[in-house]
């Protein structure tokens, strides 16, 4: 048994009637880590969080907090605190009473409560607001009170259920940075539920991508983005092109054939694929470049792929331009090129082009 994990889930299943909300999930969350559960709504991320908090009990499997199995322990007996999606501030209590609630329940001496409430208010930069009622505060302020109310109890793990979901974009960005800084300052393990991939990438040390109750991939933001483990992750995180291919060879090199018959090399293939299988070649739009047909090298490198196509659509998005290119087999791909050089001749719709990419960036995934 490894006590180094702040939270460990072992083969946890949660069933609601016939619906399997969480399907054999195992996770190891390290002490002091900012860990995100990321996925679309209904993927089981909130249920997973609620099981750690003790609001739901697993149908099977076990949950450990610092090596201690939680079993059927009720929420008030667990060393975790939660920041709720709608904040769940007690409307009939003042801000100070809200923050004091947890300490009061644990019978912390009155003068210590007073001191810690003041500290917590200062920590979330709302000193002097203690006598207000939650309704008198803005959404962002309520959010910070909810955070203070949880953190003031010095939990071993803080659980956050889409805490920024109700805020407008600008405030959300500011709170993301604030939240991350706060987490580093207090050094408490954060488990953060979100459906916003950018939010997860910005803040997390590690991310678990979930869908339909299953964890698809666990990794740091870079590996999740650069090395998606399967089609769902590649599709859900960022923008990706999926080009239909057939596996030609898996070793020594991974080679696939496009529908036109052209063969290209790829850097990685998902486990379980075998020669002859239909698959998709996944590649990010910013990992590709466009060449004029005359720029095609005489002796192309083995590590580069070159595919003919025609520019059909251009969307200028400021920092870069999205070029839609139709390949010979009719499949469409998007290439993002940075608008870094003034005076460079832009691509025009209808122009013949060659799409090129480094094989290392191409990943072969199951359909």
């Amino acid at each position: 048994m490894n006590d180094a994990y702040a939270v460990e889930l072992r083969d946890v299943v949660k069933q609601f009637g016939d619906v399997i909300a969480v399907n054999h999930v195992s996770l190891q969350i390290k002490d002091g880590e900012f860990f995100s559960l990321l996925g679309p709504s209904g993927c089981g991320k909130t249920t997973t969080l609620r099981m750690i908090a003790g609001f739901e009990m697993p149908t099977s499997g076990a949950i450990f907090i610092h090596g201690e199995q939680q079993g059927y322990r009720p929420p008030n007996k667990r060393p975790v605190n939660t920041v709720f999606q709608n904040y769940a501030l007690f409307p009939h209590m003042t801000v100070a009473e809200n923050i004091a609630f947890g300490m009061e329940m644990r019978q912390v001496p009155k003068d210590e409560i007073q001191r810690r409430v003041d500290e917590a208010l200062a920590m979330v930069r709302l000193a002097g607001m203690g006598n207000r009622k939650p309704k008198q505060l803005s959404g962002g302020q309520q959010q910070r009170i909810a955070l203070a109310r949880a953190l003031v109890n010095r939990p071993e793990v803080l659980l956050l259920d889409e805490p920024l979901g109700a805020l407008d974009l600008k405030l959300r960005k500011a709170m993301q940075i604030e939240l991350k800084a706060l987490q580093e300052e207090v050094g408490i393990t954060f488990i953060y539920v979100t459906h916003d991939q950018e939010e997860a990438l910005t803040m997390s040390d590690r991310i678990a991508v979930m869908n339909n109750g299953v964890v698809h991939q666990v990794g740091d933001p870079e590996s999740i983005y650069e090395h998606p483990a399967d089609r769902f992750v590649a599709d859900f995180i960022g923008e990706t092109n999926f080009i239909p291919v057939r596996v030609v060879s898996l070793s020594p090199e991974i080679v696939v054939a496009l529908d036109t018959g052209q063969q290209v090399v790829a850097g990685w293939a998902e486990e379980g694929l075998s020669v002859g299988d239909k698959a998709v070649l996944s590649i990010r739009p910013e990992k590709m470049d466009l060449l004029e047909p005359k720029e095609m090298p005489k002796s192309p490198s083995q590590q580069m792929a070159y595919v003919k196509g025609k520019v059909t659509h251009l969307v200028y998005v400021g920092a870069d331009t999205r070029h839609t290119v139709v390949l010979g087999d009719g499949s469409e791909i998007v290439v993002r090129l940075q608008n870094s050089y003034i005076g460079e001749e832009p691509w025009e719709i209808g122009e013949e082009t060659i799409v090129t990419w480094n094989a290392a960036h191409a990943r072969i995934l199951k359909e």
Binding site: N76, T82, F90, F101, G102, A150
Partner: protein, 288 residues
Amino acid sequence: MTERLRRHPELQAWLILAIPVIFLLIFFMAPLVIVFVYSFLERGKYGGVEWVFTLDNIRRVFDPLYFKTFVRSFYIAIVTTLVTLILGYPLAYFIAKSPPSRRNALVFALMIPFWTNFLIRTYAWLTLLRTHTGLINVTLMNWGIIDKPLPLYGNDFAIILGLVYGWLPVMVLPIYAALERLDESLLEAARDLYASSAKAFRRVTWPLSLPGVVAGSMLVFIPSLGAFVTPAILGGGKSLMIGNIISNQFLGAHDWPFGSALSMVMMIAMLIATLIYFRWTKKSEDVT
């Protein structure tokens, strides 16, 4: 005219309001004024009033003979309110926690007794409670569980039972409305912050349902204090409430001014009781 209305929307509002305002002024305020004026006049020979000013009626209200009934009526109304609250709160809680699809059916079931006339229902209770021929005593004696009839009828117990039965739904509905609105995540937050389920109830559920408790208590207390059908039937002519005395002044004794004086004093007493109650609940709301 329409042009002017369009330019002054507030005029439209006044026009719409005029009808209910006039209605209330005539049919709501006027009887109150009449009752107020009558309480200071002398009785006429065959009902009605003589237009002579007097304070005798008011003085008579505080005659121990009547004042004792006053105090008893308050006692009965308070006990009725407490019992309906004790029975009604868990019922409201149960309905509010039922799955949404079942809630409406339960509220509907709660309202079914209202379809039958209150008088008939009270007579139905009579057949259950009567001392020698009532269903309960007869059954219990036949089974040999008791050998003397229980005192179920013609006393305060019977009146309170009848009132509790009659007003229970009125207590349940506002409490249910308050509990149904209660955000479940507030309770989870309390539990998350180390509160036991009992503590979470006391610190979160109860204070947030208090407006419903206050409304329900008022709705039960006020009609219970003025009740006259229930004590007339279940009190067996021995146990009376102030409502019976008032109705008797108008229907039996033809002493309208004294009946008016009793009503006036009751109304003022009720107002004071209500204010005290509001003040008290407000305070306990601030504390928690």
